[in-house]
């Protein structure tokens, strides 16, 4: 809802950002983070705030945030419904 950046708690100490974590160290990185329900919720809120501050709350915004959100939504819907739609695909072995 209408949470500002100051109301969303940051992680306790500065850790590697997700982009810089090696694949093998990913489980250890996830274990170091706050994986309680509130921790996950605030992680999503931080990401949402970062996205909105970068693309939406700007003086001269464009179609970029909506295009990104809708493309991501279409891709996620495809992944979600793959088991359902693979039977309709034109391929030799179903």
């Amino acid at each position: 809802m209408g949470l500002s950046a100051s109301q969303i708690p940051e992680p306790p100490k500065k850790d590697l950002p997700l982009w810089d974590v090696k694949l093998g160290e990913l489980p250890k990185w996830v274990a170091r983070r706050d994986i309680s329900p509130t921790g996950v919720y605030f992680a999503f809120k931080r990401a949402e705030l970062k996205f909105n501050n970068k693309y939406v709350h700007v003086k001269r915004g464009g179609i970029a945030p909506y295009a990104m959100m809708l493309t991501g939504y279409c891709i996620m819907s495809y992944i979600w419904s793959y088991d359902h739609i693979k039977h309709d695909m034109m391929r030799k072995h179903h």
């Binding site: 949402e48 915004g61 959100m69 939504y73 279409c74 979600w80 419904s81 039977h87």
Partner: protein, 227 residues
């Protein structure tokens, strides 16, 4: 080969989470209203301008008492329009094709207007069951007919939205299958069918927007009778 034409309306599940949940979150997350600037962003001002025009039409039948319902109606209309239009994107799920969801919206809203009317002025609400100027002999029949018509309203409201969207999606599915099937037989025929599909898509976008508007305006009319 299509398993079944109607299998496109099943909500797929992944990790025990239905896709309908993601689809319902989209209108909420797509329109960001609160930000650091009091004036809002370009997109929020655009949405506000469009909604102001539409809501002035939707709220026209109502008097001052009904204006307190404007927030409910504007959010209802915006949500329905967004759900319908986003459902036209590829691979997405349209929650408003499900009768359960549309009846879940229609019945409480209609019942709210009826209970509001019967609670505040029961005599006037009952008087609406008999149209003015009707012959005395016809009054019993008319009361029964009017009662049935009032009871059918939520069903009609929900079913109208469901049927329009389901029919549109089905038609698009069928014609796109026809385009793919005809491609091997005749490219020209396939091209003509593709052109038909383009026009049908444009029609579907219009229908998606109009059905959201119609739902909201009908609830407004039902409220107007009971204010």
């Amino acid at each position: 080969m299509m398993v079944s034409l109607f299998s496109q309306f099943d909500s797929p599940w992944l990790l025990n989470i239905p896709l309908v949940l993601l689809a319902l979150i989209m209108p909420w997350k797509l329109f960001v209203s609160f930000g650091p600037s009091w004036a809002g962003t370009r997109s929020s001002r655009l949405v506000y301008a469009v909604m102001e025009t539409l809501m002035s039409q939707v709220m026209q039948p109502l008097n001052k008492l009904g204006f307190r319902w404007v927030v409910l109606f504007s959010s209802l209309m915006l949500m329905l329009m967004t759900l319908n239009v986003i459902g036209l994107f590829p691979y997405t799920f349209t929650p408003t094709t499900q009768l359960s969801m549309n009846l879940g919206l229609a019945v409480p809203l209609w019942l709210g207007t009826v209970v509001y009317g019967f609670r505040n002025h029961p005599v006037i609400a009952l008087a609406h069951l008999c149209p003015e100027g009707a012959p005395n002999l016809l009054v019993p029949v008319l009361v029964v007919v009017e009662t049935l018509s009032i009871l059918m309203r939520p069903l009609a409201l929900g079913l109208r939205l469901t049927a329009n969207l389901t029919a549109g999606h089905l038609l698009m599915h069928l014609i796109s299958s026809a385009v793919l099937g005809l491609m091997e037989l005749s490219v020209v025929l396939s091209g003509i069918t593709l052109l038909l599909l383009v026009f049908l898509t444009m029609l579907e976008i219009a229908v998606a927007l109009i059905q959201g508007y119609v739902f909201a305006i009908l609830v407004t009319l039902y409220l107007d009778e009971n204010l």
